[in-house]
């Protein structure tokens, strides 16, 4: 609904056909990470650290090895010693030494749940029993969880200082990024109105339903297979090969269906360990995580402390912005600060800006990408401050945003100009939407917030082949998380001018298709889609060429029309051949018809979203109910409209969870108190209103069908949209997430 009238007319783009992987999924036949079993497979178990920070003095595995049915035991000593090497294969860069030490601790454990040893046995029960028999002697070290505590002079250091010293004072700062321009202090002191505030939150988890699991089989000749679910099987291949110091081509990774990743499945935790256990036992080995393992040891999104100052003239023109934030990095270097800096205030025209962020090492699991990694935290602070500024100016908050909204050509925080962005169009669509002017009931308030995400392109490979009967198979290297098989089939069918059902799409393993980057950064429909279109155009060209050869006419006399090769001039003018006729005679007309497109997609554009949220606050209990929610987003062009709307609704749902109840709770001993869905409170269906979506289509001119990434933008604005709505309903500004009932109650009635 709400899609603007299309200027161009399409056969398939923007329609809503059934996804090709749908029946398998709804009937339970689809093979996910935990479903795969190999003949002779052993069951693995991992022993994890009970301490948040400790030195490993010794590991005694003898009792475990003696247990009948145990076939292999591994510790960090079984992984090769590696030289530092930063690889850009997940979402952001990682050092393979960190990845290796995160898979199995080497000399220190850095968080509760850090893997210390692993076993493989003939049953899962035996494997768990054997893991419990491994005795580890620890020297417990002081631990640190909080951002400010970890920055204190006497804080325990998570990373050992470099040998020989670098001259710098060792600290827990893992990354430090600053961007901006102009004279911030001078502009702030000259501003008519300045608002400032500190905003805080604890880490949150991606909350994918499917826990990590894999099966690895490593043969004596060095060749190996891995079956797992991930956001990128090429990422699994390159990281596993690098951690094990073996050739990538010796590993074939077969992607299984993925039950959610949201950025959290862009690295390896289990695969190198399963490989070691397989090599030692000579059998395929399965490793899987429990939900508790997932919470304790896989990437949360960082918590944050964010300081914001915004200054404006009396007419609402923004003159200066300063944003300074600290993010949790966890046990190893993470990648959120850079995107946090570039996602903070670039949606406004501001002459004087300074945005800087650091990442802080601490005794928590290493932070991992979570849907628009680094953006929602800082956006919460900035869009809350914008709300406050509007109140101080006595200005409509939507007008304030329209007045200052960045347009194409304006400078981003990085200093580069924005391309064809649809931010202003989103604001206009929101203003025109009935939600914006709908009346509110008692104890209700309306909040708004806007945000953006840079999106990505990068390497993708697609192979498109024609079967003898003229049906088509698209093979990609991109795991299908949000319906990309359907979107690829739509784009190929659009190019080939054939029915959607005539094109089927599969995700091919690492040995069957060329390199493709992770499904992350909202890149797949854009980049893999570009490769699909390119391959489809080449197949179309080949089909015409084969028809020309069959008719013995010059190639330029044949065109593809309405799913057929058609001769456009000469004696054979008007002759037609379908894909089936061409492919069916390919033996004689030049061989099988297939085309591969391998590209690094450039020219991606960011996505912008604007959200309107109505809440009702129970003033006596502090309970916040979301009563109405509308998300407006520039989607470039929706290829499969359902999946675009689904992405928007999913992002909003996760953002609402982050805003209202989700949070990591550690006790004073550095142990996670809520490693399960009972006490890690993601929203349940009854917490959610229907989330109305408005797709604004400002096509990306570089993409054949105008695609812009859509998956990450929608999690950016909800934190502030909800907080601003709570402010409107209660008069209280909530600067600390989550806005759980007890915290809202305390804000309304005072503590204690």
């Amino acid at each position: 609904m709400n899609a603007p009238e299309k200027i161009e007319t399409f056969r398939h783009i923007g329609t809503r056909p059934v996804r090709p992987d749908g029946v398998d999924k709804v009937t339970g036949k689809a093979l996910y990470g935990t479903d795969f079993k190999a003949p002779g497979m052993l069951w693995g178990a991992i022993l994890r650290s009970p301490h948040p920070h400790a030195r490993i003095l010794s590991i005694d595995t003898r009792a475990a090895e003696k247990l009948a049915g145990v076939k292999a035991v591994a510790t960090g000593k079984d992984l090769p010693t590696l030289e530092s090497l930063v690889m850009h294969v997940g979402e952001g860069a990682s050092d393979i030494v960190d990845i290796s030490h995160n898979c199995l601790a080497f000399d220190k454990v850095l968080y509760e749940g850090h893997p210390v040893a692993a076993v493989a046995a003939i049953t899962p029960e035996l494997a768990r029993e054997a893991a419990a028999l491994i005795s580890v002697e620890y020297e417990v070290l002081p631990h640190v969880l909080g951002l400010e505590e970890a920055l204190a002079d006497d804080a325990p250091l998570i990373r050992e200082p470099a040998k020989g010293g670098t001259g710098e004072t060792p600290s827990n700062v893992a990354m430090d990024v600053t961007m901006g321009r102009g004279e911030v202090e001078a502009a702030l002191s000259g501003a008519a109105v300045v608002v400032e505030g500190r905003y805080t939150m604890e880490p949150v988890h991606q909350g994918y339903i499917e826990p990590h699991a894999c099966v690895a089989s490593w043969n004596g000749d060095g060749q190996a297979q891995i079956w797992c679910s991930s956001q990128g099987h090429f990422m699994v291949r390159s990281l596993t090969a690098s951690v094990l110091a073996i050739p990538q081509s010796d590993i074939r990774v077969t992607p299984l269906e993925i039950g959610g990743g949201f950025g959290g499945k862009t690295t390896v935790y289990l695969e190198p360990v399963a490989m070691i256990l397989s090599r030692k036992s000579g059998r395929p080995v399965r490793l899987g995580m429990s939900r508790e393992d997932v919470f304790r040891a896989t990437g949360p999104a960082p918590g944050a402390i964010i300081d914001v100052r915004l200054g404006a003239d009396a007419d609402g023109t923004l003159v200066a912005a300063e944003v300074t934030f600290k993010y949790h990095s966890g046990a190893f270097a993470a990648n959120d600060a850079g995107a946090g800096v570039s996602s903070a205030i670039g949606h406004y025209r501001i002459a004087n800006t300074r945005v800087s962020g650091i990442e802080v090492l601490c005794n928590r699991p290493a932070a991992k990408a979570y849907r628009a990694p680094g953006a929602p935290q800082v956006n919460f602070a900035v869009e809350s401050a914008m709300d406050e500024l509007a109140i101080r100016l006595g200005m409509d908050p939507l007008e304030l945003r329209m007045k200052n909204a960045a347009r194409p050509g304006d400078l981003q925080t990085s200093g580069l100009p924005w391309g064809e962005i649809g931010w202003m169009q989103c604001l206009e669509a929101a203003k025109a939407h009935p939600h914006w002017s709908a009346p509110l009931g008692p104890n209700q308030g309306r909040g708004i917030a806007g945000g953006y995400w840079g999106n990505y392109g990068g390497p993708s490979t697609v192979n498109l082949s024609v079967a003898e009967d003229g049906t088509f198979t698209v093979a990609t290297g991109s795991p299908d998380i949000g319906g990309s098989r359907a979107s690829m089939a739509i784009m190929a069918a659009e190019v080939l001018e054939v029915p959607y059902e005539q094109v089927r799409c599969v995700v091919a393993d690492t040995s069957s298709i060329g390199l493709s980057f992770v499904t992350g950064g909202s890149r797949t429909t854009f980049a893999t889609g570009m490769a699909t279109v390119e391959a489809a155009r080449e197949v179309k060209r080949l089909l015409c060429e084969r028809a020309a050869r069959t008719w013995q006419v010059p190639a330029q006399h044949v065109e593809w029309r309405d799913g057929h090769a058609v001769c456009t001039s000469g004696e054979r003018q008007g002759s037609k051949m379908s894909a089936a006729q061409v492919a069916g005679s390919s033996l004689h007309s030049g061989g099988p018809v297939t085309a591969t497109s391998a590209l690094s997609a450039q020219g991606w554009l960011p996505g912008f979203g604007f959200h309107i949220c109505d809440v009702e606050v129970d003033q006596e209990t502090g309970h916040v109910s979301i009563v109405r929610y509308t998300a407006v987003q520039d989607v470039g062009r929706a290829i499969h409209a359902d999946y675009v709307e689904g992405q928007i609704q999913g992002g909003v749902a996760q953002g609402i969870g982050w805003a209202l109840n989700e949070t990591y709770i550690y006790n004073k001993d550095g142990k996670l108190e809520n490693p399960g869905f009972l006490d890690y409170r993601m929203p349940v269906a009854s917490d959610m209103p229907m989330i109305d979506t408005v797709m604004v289509e400002v096509p990306n001119p570089v993409h054949p069908y105008g695609v812009k990434g859509v998956g990450e933008v929608p999690i950016v604005p909800p934190l502030a949209a909800v907080a601003n709505a709570v402010r409107a309903a209660t008069g209280k500004r909530m600067r600390s997430l989550p806005m759980s009932p007890d915290k809202v109650h305390a804000a309304l009635h005072g503590e204690g």
Binding site: T621, N661, L678, D679, R681, P683, S740, D742, E751, G752
Partner: protein, 289 residues
């Protein structure tokens, strides 16, 4: 985990014999606590004794004005009995706040009680109702007030070989009503931060003649706050009476600070919910505002 023996006897005596024979054996209702705890490794009983094969243990029946609810009755099945819903809507609602529909299609109130969680949802409603349970054991049967079953988190007063056979909800007057409310951060699938059950009897003039208020999750076991009930008796539930009741409720709270709520929040919510619960119960009893 060595797999436990599974028994499905078809008589009450059979259950008692099995439970007496193995002190680690546990009765199995819906298993929505028991199986979860066994799988997590928290408990490892030598045997589980399924109660659902005993026909008399499932279902709701009337004995005169008394409702008798079999211990193996699923929470959702309570909703099918229109007379029970009319007489004890608070009890039925409390049992049907537990978990999700899937959970309630298995879960029983007896399991909720005997799991002995301070936050068990059906328990404050049953205590407010003045419910008793019939307990069978090696020495025969005895009838016990519901609030006397839990003794501390995870522990009950049931002796070895004993189990709960049924609940009995007493006869009540024409102008009576009960209600249960809980505070949870979400809207369902959550554990009570505070739960309050209220049960009122009114006379023809709307004066409260009896009142029972019970609290969950604010102490190691369910708390029957007699002073709160007393504050309402003899009143028309005016603001003054309600304030006195809320004061008694707050005073009776002895909660802990934990990941699910602070002491201050729990106390505040006990008061807020007690007032709301009494108002709903009064409305059901036919009080004029």
């Amino acid at each position: 985990m060595p797999s436990p023996a599974f028994h499905a006897p078809d008589t009450v005596e059979g259950v008692v014999a099995l439970l007496s024979g193995d002190p680690t054996a546990r009765p199995l209702g819906g298993g929505t606590d028991l199986i979860v705890q066994m799988r997590s490794g928290r408990i490892a009983p030598g045997a589980v004794v399924d109660l659902k094969r005993i026909a008399a243990l499932s279902g709701v029946r009337r004995e005169g004005d008394v409702f008798v609810i079999g211990a193996a009755t699923r929470c959702t099945a309570l909703k099918d009995n229109a007379d029970l819903c009319a007489a004890w809507p608070g009890v039925v609602e409390a049992a049907n706040l537990i978990g999700s529909v899937q959970v309630r299609n298995r879960a029983t109130m007896a399991g909720n009680l005997c799991n002995a969680s301070p936050a068990a949802d059906s328990v404050p409603a049953l205590v407010a109702a003045g419910a008793t349970c019939v307990v069978a054991g090696p020495a025969g049967t005895r009838e016990v007030a519901v609030q006397d079953i839990p003794v501390s988190p995870g522990k009950t007063s049931l002796a070895s070989g004993e189990f709960v056979v049924e609940f009995r909800l007493p006869a009540r007057g024409a102008r009576a009503g009960d209600a249960y409310l809980r505070s949870i951060p979400r809207t369902e699938m959550d554990i009570a931060v505070v739960g309050v059950g209220a049960n009122l009897d009114l006379d023809a003039e709307g004066t409260c003649t009896a009142a029972r208020i019970a609290l969950g999750a604010v102490a190691p076991t369910v708390v029957l706050v007699e002073a709160a009930g007393a504050a309402l008796v003899g009143t028309k539930l005016d603001d003054g009476a309600l304030s006195a009741m809320v004061e008694a409720v707050t005073a009776a709270c002895a909660p802990i600070d934990d990941k699910r709520g602070t002491v201050a929040y729990r106390k505040a919510m006990a008061g807020v919910l007690a007032k709301r619960t009494v108002q709903i119960a009064a409305e059901r009893a036919g009080a004029k505002a």
